[in-house]
Symmetry: C2
Subunit: 256 residues, 2 copies
């Protein structure tokens, strides 16, 4: 009998978030699931790691599924490192992260704890996928996201992943029957125009809340934003070799 | 008379670190300097942003240089956002981050708060450079790093930066007269092999310290690691479009 695939699941919204519970449910249908996830929300943590403080890792049972679960006070990237080094008996076949409550399309990949966890899996040489639903609400409907997470993870378990790459999967906030399919796309050239909401605390000290407006000036029809706006699931292959090869020659004047 | 360049300086070791003081000193020779930097060390913060707590921003004077300085409780990326949105009267000509106490070569770029601050500047459409010295000690000798930071920043102020790119500059821990020059390089395919140092606290609870060994299996002579090992300053152009264009076609089977 063939051994079941071993799947490590994490996220950045915390281990009790409905998004990760949905992901665990469908991964249980594909293999043996081990969860190592943050004990509290870690959104916007990017690729942060915990160097200057101590990490805890505690076995926990949250529902009666067959998965084995640990919570940690670390970041999503810490959770992947802990899972691989301290929890799993062998290298997993797949690392999945999410399902994030909210989009990680286009430039959001840079700020995303969900995607950083997937990138960390990729660096370790493991097929890795981050899943995000375009609905940040706690009680969002994950049924379409579950369908596509299972389909895409199953495909990757069967066919493998190109080397040096992880997948950034975003799912429109639509019922399953209104989603037209999957598009493999490039990262749209979009950004946040920051605004800070400036306030004064009861003691007269100024403070700020980070806020902002998402602006997509990329009119390409091959982007993740275009796919999502047209009711497709977007899949962007992400590489962690960040070298801009195309400009190396152009910069050679710096060597003089 | 031509207006002086406006330069935003930040780092991830905190505003009092000798590395940022060295960088401020040489940037004062190139333009008008505004510093917005973390009030405490933020190493390993990656591209983290502060969403769920409040940000403070306080004018501070640390030495008697001509620069204007602010400290913040935010991450390096928060500092760049605050600097551009709340402090500067116009878009700066250059964002510089560092000089980091310790290497940010090869895969370290992914975990680095220093480089994430530079990437944030790039996303805002500003020429941006992260500088790191291969010596993590607080009392490291920054004299060679200062020389190259001034030379490279001066070159970029004169010649501009390719679009969609920021520079990751690493400087060997050598006296200036032992450094052979500058090499424009690619990110070496190296990684950390994590080990966790497992301990028990006085109350019997297990905890972990993240630790690890840096392993470079990339034998290429065009990498940042090769340049640094051969006494060159490495300059890697980094892009924040993380799309792995080369594999998009290969993944089209996911659309079926």
């Amino acid at each position: 009998m063939k051994e079941q695939p071993l799947i490590l699941v994490t996220n950045d919204d915390g281990i009790t978030a409905p998004g990760i519970r949905a992901l665990i449910e469908v991964m249980n249908e594909l293999g043996d699931v081990v969860v190592v996830a943050p004990d509290s929300p870690q959104s916007g943590m990017g690729h942060a790691v915990t160097i200057n403080s101590t990490l805890y890792l505690d076995l926990i049972q949250i529902d009666d599924g067959p998965q084995v679960e640990y919570k940690s006070n670390g970041t999503p990237v810490d959770c992947v490192k802990l899972g691989i080094s301290e929890v799993l008996y062998r290298k997993p076949d797949l690392v999945v992260s999410g399902i994030n409550h909210g989009s990680n399309s286009s430039i959001n990949v840079i700020y995303s704890g969900t995607m950083s966890a997937a990138v960390e899996g990729g660096i370790e040489g493991i097929s890795s996928i981050g899943f995000s639903l375009l609905d940040y609400k706690w009680d969002a409907d994950f049924s379409a996201a579950k369908y596509f997470a299972k389909q895409i993870a199953g495909n990757i378990l069967n066919n493998g992943m190109p080397k040096g790459v992880v997948l950034n999967v975003n799912i429109p906030a639509l019922p399953l029957n209104e989603i037209k399919g999957i598009k493999v796309a490039r990262q749209a050239n979009a950004k946040w125009n920051e605004t800070f909401d400036r306030r004064e605390n009861p003691h007269g000290r100024k403070y700020y809340w980070l806020s902002g407006e998402f602006v997509n000036n990329d009119k390409g029809e091959d982007t993740d934003e275009f796919a999502l706006a047209n009711a497709y699931v977007s899949v962007v292959p992400i590489q962690y070799d960040m070298t801009a090869y195309a400009v190396i020659d152009q910069l050679k004047n710096l060597e003089k």
